[in-house]
């Protein structure tokens, strides 16, 4: 029933390598599609100075500013470096996730998302690939903070395993927030809008928490909000694991927050992505 024989270009497509793309959408191919999309972004990181600057310099700046400016004024149990590094980690990975939304909005406005959608690939791979590449970039930022922290006296006092678990917990938050930002990026109409819509709520979210100061110092009503904030949970969990003190339930609560946000927002962002494509 197909009028293939008439077309000159079809003689070439008889030997064309596109035969396999009609194949059922296997998990293996979904992973490969995601990996292809992730490498597209990873390749571009060293080439875009503004992104690299944000990833590398911003955390360095924050650690040093907080340590030397506030370090003497804020009363914390134990050393200020030990208190500060988990807070900065929480803040940095979450701010870093805003690039997921900005990048997605950029790709949409430049028509690249349309190109990806017109390819015979797994549609979710576009979002999975991007969030994974942002996770890799965030991991680099986290590593830098930990290295600088070590120079200022921060230690894995709870042992290497607990230290690694704490770091993974922060990265899980980074990944979860990338999905929130993906939804933001898909919902706004421009890169600028993605930028402000992605950034503005992060300030109260990260500052009204135990990330930089003990919540005990806040007024009662604010303290209640801060204590319920998932950032307080992840910061407290990380702080305890790094320090080798008892984290209580905070590790589980933080892990559940990360998992819950990831599941809910991955679902919302993916259905939004598929909806906009039809």
């Amino acid at each position: 029933m197909n009028p293939r024989d008439k077309v000159a270009s079809d003689e070439r497509s008889a030997t064309a390598p596109s035969a396999g793309v009609d194949a059922p959408n296997s998990v293996m191919w979904a992973i490969r599609d995601s990996w292809n999309e992730a490498t597209r972004h990873l390749r571009s990181i060293p080439r875009s100075p503004e992104l690299l600057m944000f990833t590398v310099l911003q955390p360095v700046m924050f650690v040093l500013l907080f340590y030397y400016v506030f370090g003497g004024a804020i009363q914390v149990p134990g050393s200020y470096a030990q208190f500060l590094v988990p807070g900065i980690l929480a803040q940095t990975v979450v701010f870093g996730s805003s690039f997921t939304g900005v990048g997605l909005a950029e790709d949409m406005s430049k028509g690249f998302v349309d190109r990806l959608r017109s390819l015979p690939i797994n549609q979710s791979a576009v979002l999975v690939g991007r969030t994974l590449s942002d996770l890799a970039r965030n991991s680099l930022g986290a590593l830098i903070i930990i290295v600088i922290g070590f120079a200022l006296g921060f230690r894995f006092n709870g042992g290497v395993v607990d230290g690694v678990v704490a770091t993974l917990l922060f990265l899980a938050f980074a990944y979860a927030f990338s999905w929130i930002q993906a939804l933001v990026g898909l919902s706004v109409s421009s890169v600028e809008a993605a930028n402000s819509a992605g950034f503005i709520w992060m300030f109260p979210l990260t500052f009204v928490s135990s990330a930089f100061v003990p919540t005990e110092s806040m007024p009662g009503w604010l303290r209640q909000i801060a204590d319920a904030n998932p950032f307080t949970q992840v910061t407290n969990a990380g702080r305890a694991l790094y320090a080798g003190t008892d984290p209580g339930n905070s590790v589980w609560i933080a892990a559940l927050w990360a998992l819950g946000i990831t599941v809910v927002f991955a679902y919302l962002a993916t259905s939004k992505f598929k909806r906009t494509s039809h």
């Binding site: 009028p3 000159a8 270009s9 064309a16 596109s18 793309v21 009609d22 080439r47 349309d114 015979p120």
Partner: protein, 315 residues
């Protein structure tokens, strides 16, 4: 059976009716030009045919495959070059092509080979390893089309491929599309310019308010308007009737008109300014200026719909 076959496509965006039951057929191997103003429904049609948008009603088949029911099979058979050059600026031209090859599940060596072929073919071989960020608009467009051809599609969609290009790049792009046409690439091309459709398309459909209002070759469409127009700025007592009579031997269908002191006389296609000057001279009529204007999209629209193709009307 046509390679692209759409019938009764309807699409609403809220209250705006973008497509009002559009029918379209494209035979294999032909370049079909889709001509219409902004908002006529050109891009909406392309987005439906390329699986980016679902129609509210109607059906569309490419190569016998239902666009709505089997988007994935459609995607492996089409190439799309949208209104913006969809290239990744932070990658090199080669990396962009390679990426598409890998998405189409070519092996690394196949993808690399195909990238080389296309870089060469699209005169990007020297710039192949440079970041696209530094490319001119014309180079980006060439890369954009090359990316659409990586998997040797059966149908190529070109949505306003020369919008935003400088005149030189536009001519380059026209040559490139000519070349693809000679190779038998079935192409759906949208444009706002009659000149472009005229130059590139085997046949043209004119669309307005989400419907096809005319279909034919460029010559057939121009015949609807009756050819070109001579614009004459008279001097002294020269009247419209005198001018019309003097030009009787070259006049086209419609009646002469006058507008803001200038006299406009529809003339047959191929009439040149010297022809008009000689005829006016022979009739001893005094004029200040003579010019021939080619038919524009606006003229076609006016002839077909009775209204101009401005954006307010068709937004």
């Amino acid at each position: 059976m046509p390679l692209i076959e759409a019938s009764g496509l309807v699409k609403n965006y809220g209250e705006t009716l973008a497509l009002a039951g559009l029918d379209l057929e494209v035979e294999a191997g032909m370049v079909l030009g889709m001509l219409g103003p902004n908002g006529a429904g050109k891009t909406t049609t392309v987005r439906i045919l390329t699986t980016l948008l679902k129609p509210d009603a109607g059906t569309a088949f490419i190569d016998g495959i239902d666009v709505v029911a089997e988007p994935r099979r459609i995607r492996s058979r089409i190439g799309l070059t949208g209104q913006y050059a969809a290239v990744d600026e932070r990658l090199t031209a080669r990396e962009n092509l390679d990426l598409i090859g890998r998405f189409f599940r070519l092996s690394s060596s196949e993808a690399a080979g195909r990238a080389n072929e296309l870089l060469d073919r699209f005169r990007l071989d020297e710039a192949g390893d440079r970041l696209v960020k530094g490319f001119s608009g014309g180079m980006r467009r060439r890369l954009d089309i090359a990316m659409s051809l990586v998997a040797r599609p059966k149908v190529l969609f070109l949505d306003e491929p020369t919008t935003g290009l400088d005149p030189r790049s536009r001519l380059d792009m026209w040559d490139l599309i000519d070349e693809l046409q000679r190779e038998g690439m079935t192409t759906l091309l949208t444009t706002q310019y009659l000149e472009e459709a005229d130059r590139l398309a085997d046949e043209i459909v004119v669309i307005d308010h989400g419907l096809v209002i005319a279909r034919g070759t460029a010559a057939e469409l121009k015949a609807l308007i009756g050819g070109s127009k001579a614009v004459i700025e008279p001097s002294g007592a020269t009247t419209l009737t005198e001018v019309a009579d003097a030009l009787a031997s070259v006049r086209g269908g419609a009646e002469p008109t006058s507008e803001g002191g200038a006299i406009m006389v529809p003339v047959r296609l191929g009439t040149t300014t010297p022809d008009v000057v000689r005829l006016l001279d022979a009739a001893a009529l005094a004029v200040v200026d003579v010019a021939i204007t080619s038919p524009t999209l606006d003229d076609v629209f006016l002839a077909l719909t009775g209204h101009a193709s401005d954006a307010e009307v068709s937004a």
